[in-house]
């Protein structure tokens, strides 16, 4: 759901005056992209939903601090970075290596959803295998690097925007993106699609 800058500004002003319905409308317009990023970041639907809710709740609590110096989306991205990294530190001190079920869970869940639509071809099985592999690979990347990569890949942010959001230099972002891509590339192998 896309809204005009004027509509967004109006909703922000109303939300800053305590209008929760206005904030809900704002949240709805950013919810899908945020959820998809959280899903690729966390590898499962439960954590993705928790993360999305955390970001939006933190944004709601801090909405009066939004001064319009950057776009709302950029401001929300900063809250997202803090929420994602803080939550990971709090709730998953063991790291992703000890949670081997998560991408399986996401994979199973997506297969479940897909099965409600008439797509049982070999192609969809192949896509499922690729997705499973990609999500597992992503999970193997350290959290901060993974987040930078997804902000670039999923959100289409520039290196400058990522640097601003993550509080680092453009050079560091570029180096990190290279390392992540190189790492994913080395471990990625397309599963073959059986023909016939």
């Amino acid at each position: 759901m896309r809204m005009s800058p004027a509509e967004e500004a109006d909703l922000i002003a109303r939300a800053q005056r305590g209008d929760v319905e206005a904030f809900c409308e704002l949240a709805a317009s950013h919810q899908r992209s945020l959820y998809l990023l959280a899903l690729k970041y966390s590898g499962n639907h439960h954590d993705a939903e928790d993360l999305t809710q955390d970001v939006m709740l933190n944004a709601y609590r801090a909405i009066h601090q939004f001064k319009g110096m950057s776009s709302f989306r950029t401001w929300l991205s900063r809250i997202m970075v803090n929420s994602f990294l803080n939550r990971k530190r709090k709730s998953d001190p063991l790291g992703s290596s000890q949670r081997q079920d998560t991408s399986e869970e996401a994979f199973e869940s997506s297969v479940y959803v897909s099965s409600t639509t008439p797509r049982h071809s070999e192609r969809s099985v192949h896509d499922g295998l690729v997705m499973k592999q990609v999500l597992e690979l992503l999970r193997s990347v350290p959290e901060r690097q993974r987040l930078m990569f997804l902000m670039k890949h999923q959100e289409g942010m520039t290196c400058e925007e990522i640097a601003g959001t993550m509080g680092t230099s453009v050079g560091t972002v570029k180096k990190t993106l290279f390392r992540v891509v190189d790492r994913l590339r080395q471990h990625f192998a397309m599963p073959a699609v059986s023909k016939g």
Binding site: E108, S114, H153, V181, M190
Partner: protein
């Protein structure tokens, strides 16, 4: 002079953006002269294409559910009414509402000037009468110290039910992580499920005024029964089935949504 690492760092951003580098003059030559970098480009591109093609297949129903739960949590964040301030079954709020209508009447243009004149006269009279009053011996009441109070808002659930929902959420999260071969984890989950089954009827009665909570508890009870009935021989089939149902019914998110958040609020009581 071609430097592989520098070159790869330069082209990575373009690869992620899925740009065609072989058509870009600034990169063409270097890709031609270095087969290793050319291979890096081809493999990275294939990986990015696969990642971009990932279809997470989220249905509109699921989006609606996600949006609904988010909205409910945000609405639960609305500024709470301080407990103890209006403990009269809403009578005070009704009086405020009626006062609003009265004030709207007095602010009408044909009445406001006369009202202002009358108010000014009244203020002058009160001011003159106060001049004659002795001011000594009047002690200013001491302001009470600032108190930190935990204000609960959201749905009106009793603390025991809220605790029950919290325990339920933890159990469900544990069950989602159980592997059928984890005999110890399975035994722990079964033990907790039996304990939860023993208390769920009472909790349902306590939440009877909030039908969505009762609905969630109904679904949860069936899951609890299935967890209790899992045995080691059928675990390989039963556990994934239970996990799918937990996910399908968004039970974890629902358990979480009904737990009111507790916000420390500091204010002065006059």
């Amino acid at each position: 002079m071609h430097n592989c690492e520098e070159f790869r760092e330069r082209i990575t951003e373009h690869i992620i953006d899925r740009e065609e580098l072989t058509a870009m003059a600034e990169f063409q030559n270097e890709l031609l002269i270095c087969s290793s970098c050319s291979e890096f480009y081809a493999e990275s591109r294939e990986m990015i294409e696969a990642l971009s093609a990932v279809d997470l297949s989220i249905s509109e129903d699921q989006w609606d559910g996600i949006g609904y739960r988010l909205q409910r949590r945000l609405q639960a964040e609305r500024q709470p009414v301080v407990p103890g301030l209006f403990r009269d079954g809403g009578k005070t709020l009704k009086v405020f509402s009626e006062l609003k209508h009265v004030s709207e009447f007095f602010l009408r243009p044909e009445i406001a000037p006369q009202l202002l004149a009358a108010a000014a006269l009244l203020l002058i009279t009160i001011g003159l009468s106060r001049l004659a009053m002795p001011v000594s011996g009047v002690e200013k009441p001491q302001e009470p110290a600032s108190q930190a109070i935990d204000v609960e808002h959201n749905v009106q659930l009793d603390p025991v039910t809220v605790d029950f929902l919290g325990q339920s959420e933890l159990l469900l999260r544990d069950v989602m992580k159980i592997s059928p071969s984890d005999a110890d984890d399975l035994a722990d989950a079964k033990k907790t499920a039996i304990e939860q089954l023993a208390g769920i009827k009472m909790r349902r009665v306590a939440a009877a005024d909030i039908p969505p909570v009762v609905d969630v508890m109904d679904t949860y009870e069936m899951i609890l029964r299935d967890i209790r009935n899992v045995d080691e021989r059928s675990a390989a089939d039963d556990i994934p089935d239970i996990q799918k149902r937990i996910q399908k019914n968004a039970l974890i998110a629902n358990m979480k949504a009904f737990q009111p958040s507790v916000t420390p609020v500091s204010f002065n009581l006059q």
